[in-house]
C-alpha cells in the first residue's frame, strides 16, 4: 500500500472508535475539525514534524495500558496553594472531588454542560487550533477539537480571586482521555491556571487561550509521574496588545510526552514566556515543540527549556520563532539545554529562526553537557557528599527555567518536587 493510503487507513481506524458529541454551539466547529483531521491524516513516523518522536502509540486505536504509579508519601502538588480545584479522573469530571465552580472575577463552565446555542466560547473553540495548523499541521489537536467530550470554559473578566487548578487523576490502566479547554482573558483581567497529574494511560489535551489587550495569563503545569503514561498536549494562545502570557511545565517521568505550544503575538508590546523543566530516568521520551509567531511591533518572546536525562532517556526540542514582516523591535530569545547524566541519554534539538523584519533582536542557543566535574569536586571538598552535590548542581542547571515562574509559592512547590525526584533517582 502506498504511504498516503496507509496513513489514511490508520486515521480511519482511529476515528472509527470515537464518538463526536452532538448538538449545541460547538457542533459546527467539531465538524470542521473532523474535516481537517481527515484531510491531514494523523501523524506518522515519516512526517518531518515527528522526526524525533514516534507518534504510533499516540495515534493507534487503543492506548497502550499504563500501570498506576504509587506516589507513596508525597502530598499531591499544589495542595498547599489556595486555589479552586477542578478534578478529572481518567478524563471524566469528578463533581465530588471538585470545588464549586464559582470564583470572583471568573466564570467557569464545563464544556460538556455548555450546551446553549450561543456561547462566548464559540468564537474560540477550534478557532485558535485551526489558526495554529499553519504552516505546520497538528492533526492530534484537530482530532481533539472534533471529539473531546469535556473540558473547562473559563472566562476571566477581572482579577481571578485565586488560581484555578485542573487536577488530572489516573485510575484506570487503559484509560484514553481527551479534554479541550478554552480560556478567554478580558482586557485588564488576570488569571493563573494550574494543571497537574498524569490524567490517563493516554491523554490528548488542547488548551486554547485568547488574551485581550492588557490581559495576563499565568500557567504552571506539572505532568504526573506515572512512568508508563503517554500524552500529547497543545496550547494555542493569541496575545493582544500589552498582554502577558507565561507558561511553565514540569515533566517528571512518562514514557512519552509531546507538548506543543503555539503562540501568536498579534498586538503590540505583548510578552510571551514559555519554559519547561523535565527530568527523565530510563524509558522516558519528552518532546517540547514550540512555535511562536511575532505579528506585531515591540513584542517579547522567551523560550527556556532545560532537560535532565539519564539511563537512556531522550529529550527533544523543536522551537521556532517566526517574525513576520512589520514585526519590528521584536525581542526573541530561545534557549534549550540538556544535562546528560550518562552516555546512554540523548538530546535532539532543532532551534529555528525565521525573520522577515529588519529591526529585531533574536537569539537562540542549544547545548548538551554533563555535570561540571570541577564544581562537583569543589562541593565535595567542602563536605557535601556526591549525591546531594549532584542534586544541587542539577537544580542549579534547571533554575533558569524554574525561575520563569513568577509566584514564589508555586516556584517552591516545583523546586520541592524536583528535589524529591532527584533524591529518589540518585545512582
Amino acid at each position: 500500500m502506498a504511504e498516503a493510503a496507509l496513513k489514511q487507513s490508520a486515521t480511519e481506524a482511529r476515528l472509527a472508535g470515537l464518538d463526536m458529541p452532538q448538538g449545541g454551539w460547538s457542533e459546527a466547529a467539531r465538524r470542521d475539525a473532523l474535516a481537517r483531521v481527515t484531510a491531514m491524516g494523523l501523524p506518522e513516523r515519516r512526517d518531518e514534524y515527528w522526526k524525533y518522536t514516534r507518534p504510533d502509540t499516540l495515534v493507534q486505536a487503543d492506548p497502550v495500558p499504563a500501570a498506576l504509579f504509587d506516589h507513596s508519601d508525597e502530598a499531591p502538588l499544589f495542595d498547599g496553594i489556595d486555589r479552586l480545584n477542578i478534578v478529572f479522573v481518567d478524563g471524566v469530571f469528578d463533581a465530588e472531588a471538585s470545588d464549586d465552580l464559582t470564583l470572583a472575577g471568573v466564570s467557569i463552565e464545563r464544556l460538556a454542560e455548555a450546551s446553549a446555542d450561543i456561547h462566548w466560547a464559540r468564537d474560540l473553540y477550534g478557532v485558535l487550533e485551526a489558526n495554529g495548523q499553519k504552516p505546520v499541521e497538528r492533526p492530534l489537536a484537530a482530532l481533539n477539537t472534533a471529539f473531546a467530550p469535556d473540558g473547562v470554559l473559563i472566562h476571566v473578566t477581572g482579577k481571578a480571586a485565586k488560581p484555578v487548578n485542573l487536577t488530572y487523576r489516573h485510575q484506570s490502566e487503559t484509560s484514553d482521555a481527551m479534554l479541550h479547554h478554552v480560556i478567554r482573558v478580558d482586557a485588564g483581567a488576570e488569571i493563573t491556571v494550574l494543571e497537574n497529574g498524569p490524567a490517563a494511560a493516554r491523554f490528548n489535551k488542547v488548551m486554547e487561550v485568547d488574551i485581550a489587550d492588557t490581559g495576563t495569563f499565568h500557567h504552571v503545569r506539572a505532568q504526573g509521574r506515572d512512568h508508563e503514561r503517554r500524552a500529547a498536549t497543545h496550547i494555542f494562545a493569541r496575545l493582544g496588545a500589552e498582554s502577558i502570557f507565561k507558561s511553565f511545565t514540569l515533566t517528571a517521568n512518562g514514557v512519552l510526552t509531546r507538548n506543543e505550544c503555539v503562540l501568536e503575538l498579534t498586538g503590540d508590546d505583548a510578552v510571551a514566556h514559555v519554559a519547561g523543566a523535565c527530568v527523565g530516568d530510563g524509558d522516558f521520551h519528552h518532546d517540547d515543540t514550540v512555535f511562536i509567531t511575532h505579528d506585531a511591533v515591540n513584542c517579547e518572546s522567551r523560550q527556556v527549556f532545560k532537560k535532565v536525562l539519564r539511563n537512556g532517556a531522550t529529550g527533544v526540542f523543536q522551537g521556532k520563532i517566526l517574525v513576520q514582516p512589520g514585526a519590528q523591535k521584536t525581542d526573541g530569545y530561545q534557549i534549550s539545554q540538556s544535562l546528560l547524566l550518562d552516555e546512554d541519554s540523548q538530546f535532539l534539538a532543532k532551534p529555528e529562526l525565521e525573520i522577515y523584519a529588519d529591526d529585531v533582536a533574536c537569539s537562540h542557543g542549544s547545548t548538551s553537557g554533563a555535570i561540571d566535574e570541577e564544581a562537583l569536586f569543589y562541593l565535595r571538598s567542602r563536605g557535601v557528599p556526591e549525591g546531594p552535590a549532584t542534586d544541587l548542581l542539577t537544580l542549579a542547571f534547571l533554575a533558569e527555567a524554574v525561575e520563569e515562574i513568577e509566584d514564589e509559592a508555586l516556584r517552591d512547590e516545583i523546586n520541592a518536587r524536583l528535589s524529591g525526584w532527584l533524591e529518589r533517582h540518585r545512582s
Binding site: 561540571d372 566535574e373 570541577e374 564544581a375 569536586f377 569543589y378 562541593l379 565535595r380 571538598s381 567542602r382 563536605g383 557535601v384 557528599p385 556526591e386 546531594p388 552535590a389 544541587l392 548542581l393 537544580l395 542549579a396 542547571f397 533554575a399 533558569e400
Partner: protein
C-alpha cells in the same frame, strides 16, 4: 595533626611521577609553608590531600590525626577536618553562596553526628564572619564565585574556612592574583583562625604572603620532594637568592 610519609604520586592518565617521596609533619597550632618553583609538585600535594581525581598514589601515606585520608572520599576528608583553599576557586552558576555555605556546614555536621545549624543561627554566624572579611550581603546572595573578582574569590575561600572551622587548613597559592590590600585582608582572615588546635599548610610561590602569615616552619619543595626545611629565615633566603641558589646548594 597531618602526617605525610614518603608520599609518591603519579598522574592517572599519563606515566608521569609528580611526587617522589614527600615527608611532612604538621603539628596542631603550627603554620608550615611550602615554597618552590613552578612544577615542583606543590599544588599536586594539595589536590592529592583533598581527594581530587586524576592522581594515583603509588607509595607512602598521609594521615590526619592518625586516620588514613587517602582512603577517604573528598567529603569524608572535609568532615574529618581537612580544608583546601583553592588556588582557582570554582564558579557555580545557579547555586547561591549562602545555600552553598549552609549545605556544606550542615553536611559536615551531619557526617560527624552533630546537630545541624538552624537557619537563624547560621545567618547570625555567617554575617559576623563575612563582616570581618569585608564580604557584603550582595556577595553572599550571588551564585558561588560567579562574577567575583580575584580578591573576592579568595576572601570567599577564607569565609568558607571560617564557617567550616577545619582542623587542618591547606592554602594553595592564596596570594596569587591579589594586590597588597587584598592579600592583607586575606592574611588577617587566616591569622584570626590560627589557634592551638589547628594546623596550617601555606603553599606559596613568593615570600610576600609570609610577611603577613608568619610561618613557624618553611619547606622548600623541588622536583616532587621536600629538599630543605628551616625557619622563617628560609623564606627570606628564597626572596634574596631565588630558588636556584638554594637548589644548587642542596644538590
Amino acid at each position: 595533626m597531618l602526617s605525610i610519609k614518603n608520599l609518591a604520586v603519579k598522574l592517572e592518565e599519563e606515566d608521569k611521577q609528580i611526587l617522589k617521596g614527600v615527608d611532612l609533619e604538621i603539628e596542631a597550632g603550627k603554620v608550615h609553608a611550602i615554597m618552590g618553583p613552578n612544577g615542583s609538585g606543590k599544588s599536586t600535594l594539595s589536590y592529592v590531600l583533598s581527594g581530587k581525581d586524576g592522581y594515583e598514589v603509588t607509595g607512602g601515606e598521609a594521615t590526619l590525626e592518625g586516620e588514613d585520608v587517602l582512603e577517604m572520599e573528598p567529603e569524608e576528608r572535609a568532615a574529618a577536618g581537612l580544608f583546601l583553599a583553592f588556588q582557582y576557586p570554582v564558579e557555580i552558576p545557579g547555586v547561591g553562596n549562602m545555600t552553598f555555605l549552609r549545605t556544606a556546614v550542615n553536611a559536615q555536621r551531619k557526617a560527624r553526628g552533630e546537630e545541624e545549624m538552624s537557619a537563624a543561627e547560621f545567618l547570625k554566624v555567617v554575617r559576623a564572619r563575612a563582616k570581618e572579611l569585608k564580604i557584603d550581603a550582595d556577595m553572599l546572595k550571588r551564585p558561588v564565585n560567579v562574577g567575583f573578582s580575584g580578591g573576592e574569590k579568595k576572601r570567599n575561600e577564607i569565609l568558607q574556612m571560617a564557617m567550616l572551622e577545619p582542623k587542618m587548613c591547606i592554602l594553595d597559592e592564596t596570594d596569587s592574583g591579589l594586590d597588597v590590600d587584598a592579600m592583607k585582608l586575606v592574611a588577617e582572615g587566616v591569622n584570626a583562625l590560627r589557634s592551638e588546635g589547628r594546623g596550617f599548610l601555606v603553599i606559596t610561590h613568593y615570600q610576600r604572603l609570609l610577611d603577613h602569615i608568619k610561618p613557624d616552619v618553611v619547606h622548600i619543595m623541588a622536583d616532587g620532594r621536600i629538599v630543605k626545611t628551616g625557619g622563617p629565615e628560609l623564606a627570606l633566603e628564597v626572596e634574596n637568592n631565588g630558588y636556584a641558589g638554594i637548589l644548587s646548594e642542596v644538590a
